[in-house]
């Protein structure tokens, strides 16, 4: 790698409006407006904001699942038009297939790319080991706890060896203790794999604990109101939360977020 500083991910002036029909009237709901930022390779960036601010939509636009009305997304300088193997999503709802066992779920993406069975099994087993689910290869999702299911979701994302992992409130469906455990594990895996992570959350505490940088969105339509650099030492652990600096950043983030919550645009009737 020479010194041409191409960001891993560039978000340029993204805007998105949804249309919904209420009693025969079409209502335009702008969810994102003029969102621009860039992310360096290997960094951990969180996106926080009040609910409905479009942070999950932003994540889907980066993945290519949803098309933006305005602006563009560039990965390593290339324009994103559809989902690609250089990006993978970890969903809040896990997104596992109930009729596939852990191995089948983790290997699913490889199967869709027509990777031969032996190769995909080997790679899937490797990722299953990485997330600590050895021995559960042939369990079905309903036999696993929430925390284990999300580990499967993470292993599936890793199996395609993407550069960027997009995480949509991945730990909000698990209990508090599991959540802290998963946060810790994710940081370890991140350090080990060197992936770039975009992490959507509504928890300020989580964002501060995990990230290099936090992007704070306003209420709908979401626009960036502040970018916070978190310069806490790594590796982070339980002691990190006890640092005065941690509290200071968290309080600061909360003050910024409060300003953004005030008024959400409710959308206007267009037809």
């Amino acid at each position: 790698m020479t010194a041409v500083p191409v960001p891993r991910l560039q978000i340029e002036n993204i805007g998105k409006t949804f249309f919904k029909t209420v009693r025969d009237k079409t209502i335009a709901v702008p969810v994102l407006a003029h969102v621009s930022f860039s992310v360096d390779p290997g960094s951990f960036v969180s996106v926080i904001g009040p609910s409905g601010c479009g942070k999950s939509t932003l994540l889907r636009i980066i993945d290519g699942l949803i098309h933006a009305d305005e602006g563009k997304v560039l990965v390593d300088g290339r324009l994103v038009t559809e989902p690609g193997v250089d990006r993978a999503v970890v969903f809040q709802y896990f997104g596992l297939y109930p009729w596939r066992d852990v191995l089948g779920n983790v290997a699913f993406g490889l199967e869709l790319q027509n990777v031969p069975k032996q190769a995909r099994t080997a790679r899937a087993l490797d990722k299953i080991r990485l997330v600590g689910l050895e021995g559960f290869e042939h369990h079905y999702p309903h036999e696993l706890s929430g925390g284990m299911r999300q580990r499967v979701g993470f292993a599936r994302a890793l199996a395609l060896d993407p550069d960027i992992i997009l995480m949509d409130e991945p730990f909000s469906a698990v209990d508090e203790q599991t959540r802290e455990l998963l946060q810790h594990e994710l940081l370890e895996l991140w350090a080990k794999t060197g992936k770039t992570i975009i992490f959507v959350t509504h928890s300020i505490d989580e964002a501060v604990y995990m990230s290099d940088r936090i992007i704070v969105l306003s209420a709908r339509p979401g626009r960036i109101i502040e970018t916070i650099d978190v310069e806490l030492p790594r590796p982070r652990d339980d002691r990190t939360r006890a640092m005065p600096e941690f509290g200071r950043i968290r309080t600061g983030a909360w003050e910024i977020l409060k300003k953004g919550i005030r008024t959400a645009t409710e959308g206007q009737v267009v037809a």
Binding site: D63, L65, V89, F91, W99, F108, L112, Q113, P141
Partner: protein, 267 residues
């Protein structure tokens, strides 16, 4: 809690396994029912009813005596039922998936599906007789029309019910439309499809017999017709029993398929 303990203690039933209890209950009920049947049969004019022992004799005779042509009749019925049922299932699933996935297909076909689903199948028989004659083709067509609509409707509802939480991860992993259908939509819809096929089976069975009674005296329906018109009351029950057993057999096979697939859902 205490109530349960006291009552169990006072009754002192030797504890039987659930399975044993089930067989015991069904066994006793069956013997009772058959006894009542036998008794009523013996006390009634044989023109209107037959004791179960006579029916069993007729059944055994029909099975053992080639002159009764039971096997021929059975195969005749199957030769209509099987192709009709298979075509209805395969075509029904295909149309159902198309209607579930494509709005144009849904909007175009839905009114006709609704109308035909609710049309009594019997009225179709004279119409198809006019067009296709009285042979096997006509009967197969009528069976297909009888069985296909529950398959179409169930499959369509199943496909429309597949949540974005199942399709979105596959799309994110770059599934093609074909892969999406094959690896996500189809397995997710399978419980609906099997339920639709089971409904279709009942309608197919009825329709075969009606067609055989109505059109040409053939198959098990024909046997029924012959027995009825010659006042052989006990013999009338033979095709009924054969059909009941056939229905149970196919339904049982479908249930096995259902368990093998649906169990994994952990529902």
């Amino acid at each position: 809690m205490t109530d349960v303990i006291t009552s169990a203690g006072s009754v002192r039933v030797p504890s039987l396994s659930t399975r044993t209890k089930f067989y015991l209950t069904t066994g006793i009920t069956f013997v009772l029912l058959m006894s009542v049947w036998e008794l009523v049969g013996r006390l009634t004019n044989p023109l209107f009813f037959a004791p179960i022992s006579d029916i069993v004799v007729e059944l055994v005779k029909a099975i053992l005596d080639p002159r009764e042509r039971l096997l021929t009749a059975f195969l005749q019925t199957l030769s209509v039922l099987v192709p009709g049922f298979v075509i209805a299932s395969v075509l029904g699933v295909a149309i159902g998936i198309l209607m579930g996935r494509r709005n144009l297909a849904y909007q175009t076909l839905d009114p006709y599906v609704t109308i035909l689903y609710n049309t009594p199948r019997v009225v179709l028989i004279p119409i198809f007789m006019l067009w296709l004659g009285t042979g096997a083709t006509m009967k197969i067509v009528v069976v297909v029309l009888a069985a296909i609509f529950p398959v179409i409707v169930n499959t369509m509802l199943g496909v429309r019910d597949v949540s974005a939480q199942l399709t979105e991860p596959a799309r994110s992993l770059k599934a093609t439309e074909r892969q999406l259908l094959h690896k996500v939509i189809f397995p997710a819809t399978l419980p609906f499809i099997i339920a639709g096929i089971k409904l279709g089976l009942g309608r197919a069975l009825t329709t075969v017999i009606v067609a055989e009674l109505f059109v040409s005296v053939s198959g098990l329906g024909g046997m029924l017709h012959t027995a009825a018109t010659s006042y052989q009351t006990a013999k009338m029950f033979v095709p009924a029993i054969i059909l009941a057993l056939l229905g149970i057999l196919i339904d049982g096979l479908l249930s096995r398929l259902e368990r093998a697939t649906v169990r994994r859902y952990g529902a």
